[in-house]
Symmetry: C2
Subunit: 349 residues, 2 copies
Amino acid sequence: MSQTNGFHVAVVGATGAVGEQILETLTKRQFPISKLTLLSSARSAGKKIFHQGKEIIVEEAKPDSFTGVDIALFSAGGSVSRELAPEAVKRGAIVIDNTSAFRMASDVPLVVPEVNEYELHNHNGIIANPNCSTIQMVVTLEPIRKQYGLKKVIVSTYQAVSGAGAAAIDELNHQTQSILNKQPFEPKILPVKGANKHYQIAFNAIPQIDQFEDNGYTFEEMKMINETKKIMSMPELQVAATCVRLPVAVGHSESVYLEVEKTDVTAADMKTLLSDAPGITLQDNPENQLYPMPADCVGKSDVFVGRIRKDLDEASGFHMWIVADNLLKGAALNSVQIAESLVKLGLVK
Amino acid sequence: MSQTNGFHVAVVGATGAVGEQILETLTKRQFPISKLTLLSSARSAGKKIFHQGKEIIVEEAKPDSFTGVDIALFSAGGSVSRELAPEAVKRGAIVIDNTSAFRMASDVPLVVPEVNEYELHNHNGIIANPNCSTIQMVVTLEPIRKQYGLKKVIVSTYQAVSGAGAAAIDELNHQTQSILNKQPFEPKILPVKGANKHYQIAFNAIPQIDQFEDNGYTFEEMKMINETKKIMSMPELQVAATCVRLPVAVGHSESVYLEVEKTDVTAADMKTLLSDAPGITLQDNPENQLYPMPADCVGKSDVFVGRIRKDLDEASGFHMWIVADNLLKGAALNSVQIAESLVKLGLVK
């Protein structure tokens, strides 16, 4: 520890939806902090944030903001990370980056502590926090891989609008009220803020998250595919994804089909395995209509898994339903868990 | 034709959500009707329905209601069909049943005209209309099977509440308004009317449609699996389904992964094939953010297909996104199309 009472922590993007959750999570988990620096874009600088009874003024993030910082949690968009994360590292900070800027860089560990905490040893200053929809899936896949081997994953997502920021939640609420009142409205944010066309999300489902790539997949789908292979160190794993945005504020759900290497695994085996896996709460009892739902996961740390059943044709195939709070385990919590792991492994100077 | 101007048509369940759509569809498609008999449960009997400028009084459905009827369209729940469909057949009517009562009976054709119209020749009085989520999928699968062969299908659904009746739409709207107003509410209908537990559907996703079977699958999922095999005459086809209810009023969406028999088919081939297939409108242009969405399909007859792309690992694998109005092609329209096919094939006495 650089200071006896804890670390100098900087939060970049402190006024955003994820930034807010990071501050709450640091407090809730009693992360050892000696000094807290809150940073943002010039536009949000000057705002005051109350944290543990103290008023902290948010400062504009600049290279010199990171002097003396031990751990910098970035969550202010890819361009801010690309510009300032290297500056923070130059000044001795370890960066935990919640954007997609460095996730696929070969010298940047992409970490979900339940899966690949050991990769933190290989960091060069920047550690990337994976995409929200990837995190909850790999937390579930890893114990399965360990026990039974893993060959193939096909996922269809049911994603909440908060993944697109607080403004997307406002848009969902406003559109919903307009439709109930039979009033006109104009979509402005979803599916993608900068895109040419915007569509109604209220009472609808939009099969586009992020921009399209040339191969017909969206960036979000390719993130799930590539990040899963990297986090699990399985370049040969077959992964396919279809990502869909729903009129849900918080909580991503995923319908996952997977094939293991063994053919004699039962659904009961799978349930026993996952009921004991780190970071997972099993919610699987059809008789009592017990299964995970986004409305139930909000504000909770774990990944919830249910509807586990064996494929009826493929002896190595299983179906399951995976739900998590996309702002917590999908973002803020995983970032803070990475910071905790760094401390535990003695990797913070 | 039994009468020079058309047929004596009975609609059982005329006051329900699907019954209403059947009446509208019969008119819109100018089905030749000489006499229209509207039937319902005792509870709804006596209601007046305006049809083509005429007021028709809804009568209680009884065995003798079917005397003289040529075609009876049933959509009043499985128990009504089980009781009265055989009575209608005894009296010379052909029954087109929109419930699950007879779908898997070996002597009952289960028909989607675009797929297996020829099966109508084998009817013994009752013809079953498949489950809504099955219909839109097999309309899409059949041209693919014909051209490239079909081995495997894995579907995750995104289903509208109207599949659970008009009361479920009311529940969605009421819950949604309550949440926006921060007022309490009590779920009463979804996920399944008769079930022990009811859950919030507004701003949520419920991975249960219909009751659970012992194997962990829901009836809805088993319907999709078994009906698909029967309609396509492919008992060996590998089909798996996960069915999820969304806060959408009308319009079912499906994320479908499929494997064909050939390995050299391209996404462009698949798009060309489906752009020309009966009952399908291709909506697939990522560059223009063109893809199907439930909000766009309401009131339209076709099945909308988009997001077609090749799997990145499996040379015979494809992903696509299939959307249709579950009350029309998923129910009323398909029933009326069956009636039209019966007339065209000379199968109505």
